[in-house]
Every structure is written in C-alpha cells, then in structure tokens.
Assembly symmetry: D3
Homo-oligomer: 119 residues x 6
Amino acid sequence: MPDSLDDFQKSRAELNDEILNCGHLGIKRFFALDHQAYEPAALDTRTKELLGLVASAVLRCDDCITYHLVRCGEVGWRRAEVIDALNVALVVGGSITIPHVRRAFAGMREIQGLQPEVE
Amino acid sequence: MPDSLDDFQKSRAELNDEILNCGHLGIKRFFALDHQAYEPAALDTRTKELLGLVASAVLRCDDCITYHLVRCGEVGWRRAEVIDALNVALVVGGSITIPHVRRAFAGMREIQGLQPEVE
Amino acid sequence: MPDSLDDFQKSRAELNDEILNCGHLGIKRFFALDHQAYEPAALDTRTKELLGLVASAVLRCDDCITYHLVRCGEVGWRRAEVIDALNVALVVGGSITIPHVRRAFAGMREIQGLQPEVE
Amino acid sequence: MPDSLDDFQKSRAELNDEILNCGHLGIKRFFALDHQAYEPAALDTRTKELLGLVASAVLRCDDCITYHLVRCGEVGWRRAEVIDALNVALVVGGSITIPHVRRAFAGMREIQGLQPEVE
Amino acid sequence: MPDSLDDFQKSRAELNDEILNCGHLGIKRFFALDHQAYEPAALDTRTKELLGLVASAVLRCDDCITYHLVRCGEVGWRRAEVIDALNVALVVGGSITIPHVRRAFAGMREIQGLQPEVE
Amino acid sequence: MPDSLDDFQKSRAELNDEILNCGHLGIKRFFALDHQAYEPAALDTRTKELLGLVASAVLRCDDCITYHLVRCGEVGWRRAEVIDALNVALVVGGSITIPHVRRAFAGMREIQGLQPEVE
C-alpha cells in the first residue's frame, strides 16, 4: 500500500480517537449513528457505500471520497462500477466536481480492487 | 394522482421543452448527457436512480428529489429502501437536510409504489 | 399569530410525526440527536440556538431559519441581537444570503419577541 | 408586465426597506457594498451583471437569478447571450442547477429584452 | 507555538497585505466590514466569534475554522465550550463536516486556551 | 514559471488523461461539453472565461480558480479586471471565499499577464 493513503488512514484513526475520547457524548453518538447508517437494513451495505461515495463526491469532500472508495473496494464494487457511480456524481454536481474526480482516480491507484488493470 | 405532483410534472415538461427548443446546442447536449447517466452501463438504472436521489437530497434540491423519487418508484425500489437511502443522505448532509426529507415524505404520499401502507 | 408561521408549524409537526413513525430507527435517532444538540451542556441553550440560526442562515435553509428564529424568541434573544447575528451570517455567507435574510425579517414580524417595535 | 415578477419586485423592495431601516449599520454597509460591486470600475456594469447572474445560478438562488436577469435585460444583454451564460452555469454547477435554469427560462418570459421571439 | 499554525498566520497576513494594497476599494471595504462584524454591538465579540466558528464549520472552510478557533481562544472560550459548538455544526452540517472537525481538533492542539489537558 | 503552478498543470494533465482513457463514454462526453462551454457562441471566450472564474470562486474550488485564472491571462484579461471580477465573487460569496481569494492572489504571482507590477 503506498504512503499517502496509509498516512490518511493513520491520521484519520488517530484524530477520530481523540474526538471520541474528548468527553462530548453528542459527538460520540453522531459518530455511532454515522457508522450505523451503512450497516445492512432495508438496503445492504454494498449499496449504501456507493450512496456514500456519490454523496461525498457531489458535496466535494476529498477525505470522505477516499474513505468511501476504500470501503467500496472492500465490499466488492469493481473499478468500472465505481467509475460509473462517479459519472452520476459528475453530471449531478457539474465540472466543479472534476478536481475531486481527478483525486478519486489518483486515490484508486492505491486502493485494493479499484486499481487500473496493468497490461 | 394528487394535483401537486401532477402540476410539477406538467410545468417541468413544458419548461424542459422550451429549453430544448431554445436553440442552444450545449444545453441540449447537457440534457442528453444527464439522461444517459442513468441508463444501464457498469451499474444498472435501478442503482443509479438511488444514487441520483441521495445526491439530490444532500444537495438539497426539492425538484430533483421529487423527480428521482418518482423514478425510484418506477424502477421498483420499495418505500423502506428509499427511506433507508434518505437516512444515508440525512446523516451525510445533516439536520439542514431535514426540511427536504420532510418534503420527500410528503411527496411519497403521491408516488406510485412509495406510499405509506394503509391499515 | 398570523397564518403563514402557523401553517409552517403545523405542516412541520405533522410530517415530523410521519417520519418518526415510519419505522426507521436511524432517522429516529438522528432526530433525537438533533434535539439534544441544543440542550444545555458546556454551552447553554440560548447560545446554541443563536449558533443554529447562523448555521441555518449561511446554509440558506428558510425552514431551518424560521425554526431557529422562533426558538431564539422563546429563549429570550431580543430583536437587535438576532439582527446582529444575521449580520454575521450575511458577511460570512455573502449577498447570496440576502433573500434568506429578507425572509427572516418577514418571519420575525410574526414571531413573539422579535417583532419590530410599533411607534 | 405579468404579476409574479411584479410581486417579487414589490416584496423585495418592501423588505429591503425594512432591513435598511432596522438600525444595523453593518447590514446597511453590506447592502451598499453589494450595490457598488456592480458599478463600473476595471470592468463595466454590463460584464459584472452577467458575472452576478452566473454566480447566482451556480449557487442556486432563484431570487438572485431573477434579480440579475432583470438587470441583464436592462443593461442590454440579449436573450441568446444570457442563455449562453446560463449554459456555463449549467456545466459548472451540474444537473442540480436544472430546476433553477427552468425557473430562469420561466422568468425570462416576463423580462423586457429577454423574452422569446414570437413568430 | 508549533510551525503549522504559525505558517498559516504568516501566509495569511502576507496575502491579506497584498490584497489590501492591490488598489481595489471594494475589496478593502469588504475586509473592513468583515472585521467590524465581530466587534461588539447588540452582541458581544465573544458570542460573535463562536457564531463565526460554527458558520465556518458548516460551510466547511478549514482556514476560516482555524482563524475563528484562534479568536475563540483569545476571547476566552474554553475547550469544552468550543467542542460543544462544533457539535452543533456537526449535527447541522452532517458527517460531511467530520474531516473539518478532525482538522479543528488537530488545530486546537496548537491554540492557546483550547489545548487538551495533559494529565 | 514557478514550480507550484507547473506541478498543478502536470498533475492535472496526467489525471485528465487517465480519466479520458478509462473507458467511460459519459465522462468523456462531459469533459468535451465542459470544453465546448467556453468556445465562442453567443458570448465570446473571453467573457466566458471570466464567468468560469467567478463561478469557481463562489463555489470555492481552488483548482478550478487556478485553471480559469490561467485561461483569463491567456485570453487577455488584465490583472485589474480579474481583481474586479474576484470582488464580485467576494461580495456574492461572502467572507467564506476570502481564503480562496488569497490563494487566487498567490496564484496570480505565477500567471503570465496577471502578475503584480514591479516598481
């Protein structure tokens, strides 16, 4: 795994720890609710992770996109499917999302299951 | 079908016609591209309509939400699944999306396949 | 109390009821968390309602602005203080927030404690 | 001039008056600064009104779009030019701006200089 | 004071200088108006800085968050109070604000008065 | 040409290539449509690039701002005109755009035609 994604994951985990241990119950509950939103209910986790990815892309949050790309790879979405989802985000969100789509493609180079095929 | 959704559909169709016939090729192509984004490719239309719904909800566009709710009903998503998708939008987008979720629930009352069950 | 604010409150309460009874636990928990965020903790409710108002104004959500204006009136903020908070929102959010500030002023005409003084 | 644009103008003027006379100096100065931003400087008013229109469109503010459409008509932009500017907004802002573009077309029906040609 | 916050402050001051001396009167006035919005009026500076922080957080502007965190420390808000304000922003703005809340916590490590207590 | 703008251009070109060759026709068409939106039609390219700049500024996308600044320099806008356009963006978008205006000024130092005059 290349360094940059690794660094993101480490910094993210460390700061999440600091936040969860800061003593604010409301924030702790929000983080739990956020986690639960992607657990299987009427929809399965796989579908919800793709929803999370597209929501993150149209709201133009690079860290959120990276997080959901990793999750999409983990739950078995293939590269072509993720790209098709990013196209929906691109059309809904417009050219202002292009820099984020670029960074999503850069991110996918490091993500298990979403890497471009090497000939 | 109640009046308000009907009115929305009629006004939407009429103005889309005016736009498509205004003589601007770029706008015409954008509308075509928008339509094509939801056609089956790596992902099927069903999944993409749910992506469109969640993208519309986090971007807080009532007309877009209504449009995708109707489409979600047409392609066979059930009420509980749509509500589970709206929950993802609510958690990602925060309490600022609540008024739009309220209007989504109001809209579902009129949408084939998404209506609350009557006892 | 004039009709329009009354209608908003009634429609809001009715749809909140429908949402809370739709059977989705995550949404129910989100509504609870949203409610708790304004309860006294390190900050008092009074301060938090003003934070909610400004957050709603810069995110340009009319229903959210109306809700927090009513709450600000209830917890004892005076008209001049609310206007001073709206000025912060205006400067942070720019002229694009002006239509929402206009509707906030229209709303205050109906809100107990925030009405303009009559000479 | 049809009623709806007329009503918008009247309500806008009345509430602007209330805001400017509410006694908050900062808000008064912001309104002045907003007005001055479109006065001739390095760029002429004509160019700036088109900038204001596109900024309003990508930020999806219907009242702001209507205001700048009226101003664009007043300063001599022709319908085809305004539509070409709206296309830039559509591509930058994505399909989420479509409902606002629809309302812009509806608005132009009532705006001097921007009306569709009648055969 | 650690390097990163120091670097931000230095770069911010240097570019603000360049902007204020670029010869555009409108921009100069806007910067003055922005400054004045946080001076005591109907509300005191302390309250307004917290409003500025929450507005910055829901609009997801890291530089703005850092600036207002520093100011909140200067005007005497305590860490627990700032965290309680960030919780309002988190609930209003949703999980898309989480990366910004993480960076706010990272920033507070360097900010006088907002640092976590060391046991 | 200094390094940072050069690096941006190189990384942008490389990732655009990867995206255009990823095999998704919709994305390819969107990129073409985005390009065409700035070609002469009812409005000339010069005007449209300024529209693109202001749209990018109010939507707070640094990469988009940098791209359109470079283009504005290429099509002959002078520094004072670009600054006057940024002022419109600042007033429309509010103080939340200030960090992006700062980075626009930093970027202009490296952009042919938009550099500050040296005495």
